[in-house]
């Protein structure tokens, strides 16, 4: 469908994908109306620092925002904040808002994001228990992050481990509970899991794997203990929950838009309704370098799909679909991840794990599909390019530290 004459583009959700789509639409010459509907009070901001530098107090709030408020005025972008969209009426091309009112659209971008998975145990509503997703969450948590306080983190994914690192640096007593038998079980290999578990233990975190939370106990409405499935109890002043996220697909589903663990899109971020696009955490997209459909929870994905949707609306050539990439900062470790490691059949370690400077490459049938690089930018940056070319590299070449990554990249078959 040709949308180049669209007079009104509406975004539901005000995160990174929406901010990117706004900027890209204007960059591509779109002059019509833009309305951004966000259920948070804040204009679009960066989420990654919430569990890193911002949580630690090293980054001022104003530095989280992609654009100052004046930019939205200059660009004639209407922002409707602290308001939830309640329904998409596709035949009328209208978005209905809570408290009444509606906004019409010629093109609609669903950038509805995701929400933290709720903790399915008794006591989860006690005071002192927090999710870590929004700026508002961090505002509530930060005043409680005081040295000596006992913090229990449920879930050893990236968010949980990043928060554990910040909390240790602020001198809290930290316990991390993970149901699986290793940390980062869902996202990386046992080698990396071991490395990060060791690092956190060395930094004084009590890392407990194979530990299932049974309930949370409190006194006077405030959490005091985490109770594990084996009956043991841990004292807790604060509990942070990081057990994954759930894509916000309900609005789309209710409107009859195809969803399957995310709002399904084509390569242009377009859903099965040609006027409606989806971008960011909420979208399940073709992962062209991997020959499958999937949902990515990342900055790269939000930016790229925001651009793809804007380009499709404006009839511009499709922007490049890059290698998925991610990062995590914990203590002085910079983890940079390129590609998706799911389905690997071989790992190659390069560098010195003990020196905390190494990379793990993931191969599938001899093809490089992903890398986890710890304090090793060259391994990350070289792989980012190699992965999307379907490069084949011999394991003994990848692990040969007498050759630079530039030299190794030149030998890719």
């Amino acid at each position: 469908m040709d949308l180049t004459n669209a007079e009104r583009v509406v975004m539901i959700g005000g995160g990174q994908a929406a901010a990117q789509a706004c900027a890209s639409l204007r960059l591509f010459g779109y002059e019509g109306a833009i309305t951004l509907i966000g259920d948070e009070a804040a204009l679009p901001y960066q989420r990654p620092p919430l569990s890193k530098a911002y949580m630690k107090g090293e980054l001022a709030e104003e530095r989280l925002y992609f654009k100052p408020a004046a930019w939205y005025e200059d660009q004639n972008i209407d922002t409707i904040l602290s308001v939830r969209a309640t329904k998409i009426d596709r035949s009328a091309q209208m978005v209905e808002l809570e408290h009444g009112g509606s906004v019409s659209y010629d093109a609609l971008i669903l950038s509805t994001g995701s929400r933290p998975r709720a903790l399915p145990v008794e006591g989860a509503d006690l005071d002192g228990i927090f999710d870590l997703r929004d700026l508002a969450d961090v505002e509530r948590i930060r005043p409680r992050m005081i040295g000596g306080q006992k913090l229990v983190i449920v879930g050893a994914g990236y968010i949980g481990l990043e928060a554990a690192a910040v909390a240790r640096q602020l001198d809290l007593e930290v316990t991390v509970l993970e149901m699986e038998d290793r940390v980062l079980a869902r996202v990386t290999s046992p080698i990396m899991s071991q490395f990060f578990a060791d690092e956190h233990m060395r930094q004084g975190v009590d890392v407990r794997t194979g530990a299932r939370l049974a309930s949370l106990k409190g006194a006077d409405g405030k959490v005091t203990h985490a109770v594990l499935a084996d009956g043991s109890e841990l004292e807790a002043d604060i509990v942070l929950v990081g057990i994954g996220i759930v894509p916000n697909v309900e609005l789309a589903e209710d409107a009859g838009i195809a969803c399957a663990n995310g709002i399904l899109t084509d390569r242009d971020a377009r859903t099965n309704d040609p006027r409606i696009f989806a971008a960011g955490d909420c979208a399940a997209r073709p992962l062209v370098h991997y020959g499958r459909t999937g949902r990515l929870e990342s900055v790269h994905n939000a930016i790229e799909q925001g651009k793809l949707a804007a380009a499709a609306i404006m009839g511009k050539p499709r922007p490049s679909e890059d290698c998925p990439w991610f990062w995590s900062d914990q203590y002085d470790l910079k983890l940079q991840i390129a590609g998706l490691s799911q389905g690997y059949d071989e790992t190659v370690t390069r560098g010195d794990i003990a020196a905390r400077k190494f990379a793990v490459f993931y191969l599938q049938n001899g093809k490089l599909i992903a890398v986890d690089a710890v304090n090793c930018p060259p391994e990350f940056l070289a792989s980012k390019k190699l992965i999307i070319t379907g490069a084949r590299l011999a394991p003994e070449t990848l692990s040969d530290t007498s050759q630079s990554m530039k030299e190794i990249a030149a030998q890719a078959a």
Partner: protein, 106 residues
Amino acid sequence: MAKIIYVDHEGTERTVEASNGESVMEAAIKNSIPGIDAECGGACACATCHVYVDEAFMDKVGMPEDMEQSMLDFAENVKETSRLSCQISVSDDLDGLKVSTPESQH
């Protein structure tokens, strides 16, 4: 405060007022300067905010640290004056700083 002048690959100059303490990348993003992507938001994780520092300012801006240098090694068309703009902090000293952006950050 410092005036920062961004020159795109076609030679067009754009001048912005940047506050002390913010990075040359942040000032660019806030003012929608084309040619700087800065996908990671300044975490020194992505190398998409590559700029060329005007030679007259090289001494004041200084050299990249190890992490930044190893990322720059993989940017396109790197020169001796290349820096990641997220790692350059604005100060009064840098008033009038001119940086050029490459044709592509990828």
